[in-house]
């Protein structure tokens, strides 16, 4: 019985069927997201576990694809891990070569990415829509910080596009400044694990400029980056060591 379960978990056939199931669930999900915007539009406004607890259980029909997608992801991660455990033992008992090891480094990096995302989905924090006029203050969720927008600079192209926009901000705890910087597209302000992101800007009804910020914390961020880079490097090395073979 245990042997049969192990063979199932390490099997390439399992991987193929689960992969196909993942593709079907993802395709269904992409359609469902457009069909139920009221359900899925705030999916990125909070961490996945929080969103799923609120919407996934309340509307199991339209979110069924997500149950399938998460189940398939878990099975793919288990399959990759079991495959690696199964193969590493004979590899280390025999002739250890980089070429034999690298596919399993790729597997472990994939596992690392999945687990890091899981950590972010469970223990992260999302504080969206922090709207603040220039010179004004806004509390940053439950962090105990207050964000001040010191200055908003917007450079418009003649065609009417914003060419560049940036916001000089200060973070306070009580009345003490704890972080200060200029936030613009692709350049957030990081402080104690949180990133403050400039999302959009505009004029208030009374004419003063305002900006909208998100503050996000992802405890898996560094691990995701490290595992993604490891995955990429190991994957490239697989190609290099395979040479002209079919890898």
């Amino acid at each position: 019985m245990i042997g049969a379960v192990w063979r199932f978990l390490t099997s390439l056939t399992t991987f193929a069927w689960v992969g196909l199931f993942f593709c079907a669930a993802g395709a269904a999900g992409s359609v469902a997201m457009g069909r139920y915007p009221e359900l899925f539009s705030d999916m990125d406004a909070q961490i996945l576990v929080g969103w799923f607890a609120r919407k996934g259980f309340a509307a199991p029909g339209p979110t069924l694809w997500l149950y399938g997608l998460l189940l398939a992801t878990a099975l793919l991660a288990v399959n990759a891990t079991c495959c690696t455990v199964d193969r590493l033992v004979p590899i280390f008992r025999g002739n250890v070569t980089l070429r034999r090891l690298l596919p399993h480094v790729v597997h472990l990096a994939f596992l690392g990415v999945v687990l890091s995302h899981l950590a972010g989905a469970m223990y992260g924090d999302r504080i969206p829509g922090l709207a603040v006029p220039e010179g004004g203050f806004v509390p940053v969720g439950e962090t105990g910080w207050v964000l001040e927008l010191n200055r908003l600079d917007v450079a418009m192209a003649p065609e009417g596009y914003p060419r560049d926009f940036s916001a000089a901000v200060t973070l306070y705890r009580d009345v003490t400044p704890v972080a200060r910087g200029v936030v613009r597209a692709n350049e957030p302000l990081f402080h104690e694990g949180y990133g403050v992101y400039l999302k959009t800007f505009g004029p208030t009804p009374w004419g003063a400029p305002y900006a909208v910020f998100d503050a996000n914390r992802d405890p898996g961020a560094v691990a995701i980056l490290a595992c993604s880079v490891l995955f990429t490097v190991a994957n490239l090395l697989v190609l290099v060591t395979a040479g002209g073979d079919d890898a």
Binding site: L12, T13, A16, G19, Y161, A185, N186, L225, D246
Partner: protein
């Protein structure tokens, strides 16, 4: 200069069309470098280089630039994967796959547009460039697998396998670059949009395909063998097309092309 650089685009389209026409007429070039496709590729590279300089950003934004870069990467893959005598038989379908997106791009607005600030980062070029390199290799996979299914051939079969593996690797690297960019731009490596979901669908599809090569024929999957593998490689092109064009044109997604 702004209008003149489009001459290079039209010339490359003519060269790609000539190659496709010659191939369909049964006229094969003596070698890859003595082909209309090679001439088209050089003109196309020059066009993209000039456009990059003129616009100040990688020419990969919007549908016109996406289609023409897709065509360029598909042409590039012909020389990367189908450069030997044995694999050049795949040039007939591949030259059509090169010409079609370029012809589609010819119908679209070609004006230079400024880049939205969030796209103004080196991650934009690396993410989109590597993704399209993967798409181009997947297109070569369709041409090679189609050729294998019609005429057979060990060399063509191996080249088709490499198209999936190299395409998967390039696409994976592109996804990693996109994730890093998304983290700096929006505070998350992952955003729930149809485009992201389809990107992972495409990634899992090719991950499975590259693994199934190691499945012994007839075991586990009845009927699994080279022909089914080649059919799956060909089908991968359509999964890629759904990811690239289907999501952006048919579904609502904030992440376009």
């Amino acid at each position: 200069m702004v209008g003149a650089h489009l001459v290079l685009f039209w010339l490359s389209l003519v060269a790609y069309g000539a190659e496709a026409g010659l191939q369909l007429g049964g006229i094969r070039p003596a070698s890859p470098r003595r082909s209309a496709l090679f001439g088209g590729l050089l003109l196309h590279a020059l066009f993209l280089g000039v456009r990059w300089v003129l616009s100040g950003h990688a020419p990969m934004a919007g549908l016109f630039e996406s289609l023409t870069v897709f065509s360029f990467c598909t042409a590039l893959s012909a020389f990367f994967l189908c450069g030997t005598e044995g694999t050049m038989s795949a040039w007939m379908p591949l030259s059509v796959l090169v010409a079609l997106p370029q012809a589609g791009a010819a119908l679209l607005d070609k004006r230079l547009t400024p880049l939205y600030p969030a796209l103004d980062t080196p991650w934009f070029a690396t993410h989109v460039g590597l993704s399209f390199l993967g798409y181009g290799l997947f297109a070569a996979g369709l041409a090679l697998s189609w050729t294998y299914l019609r005429h057979g051939g060990d060399e063509v079969y191996r080249a088709a396998g490499r198209s999936a593996l190299y395409g998967f690797s390039a696409f994976s690297a592109g996804m990693v670059c996109g994730g890093i960019w998304a983290f700096y731009a929006w505070g998350s490596y992952w955003i729930w949009t149809p485009k992201e979901i389809w990107s992972v669908v495409l990634w899992v599809y090719y991950a499975a395909l590259t693994h199934l090569k190691f499945l012994p024929a007839g075991r586990g999957w009845p009927g699994w063998g080279r022909r089914l593998e080649m059919q799956a490689t060909a089908a991968g092109y359509f999964v890629m097309l759904a990811t690239f064009l289907g999501v952006s044109l048919l579904l609502r997604s904030s992440h376009s092309f």
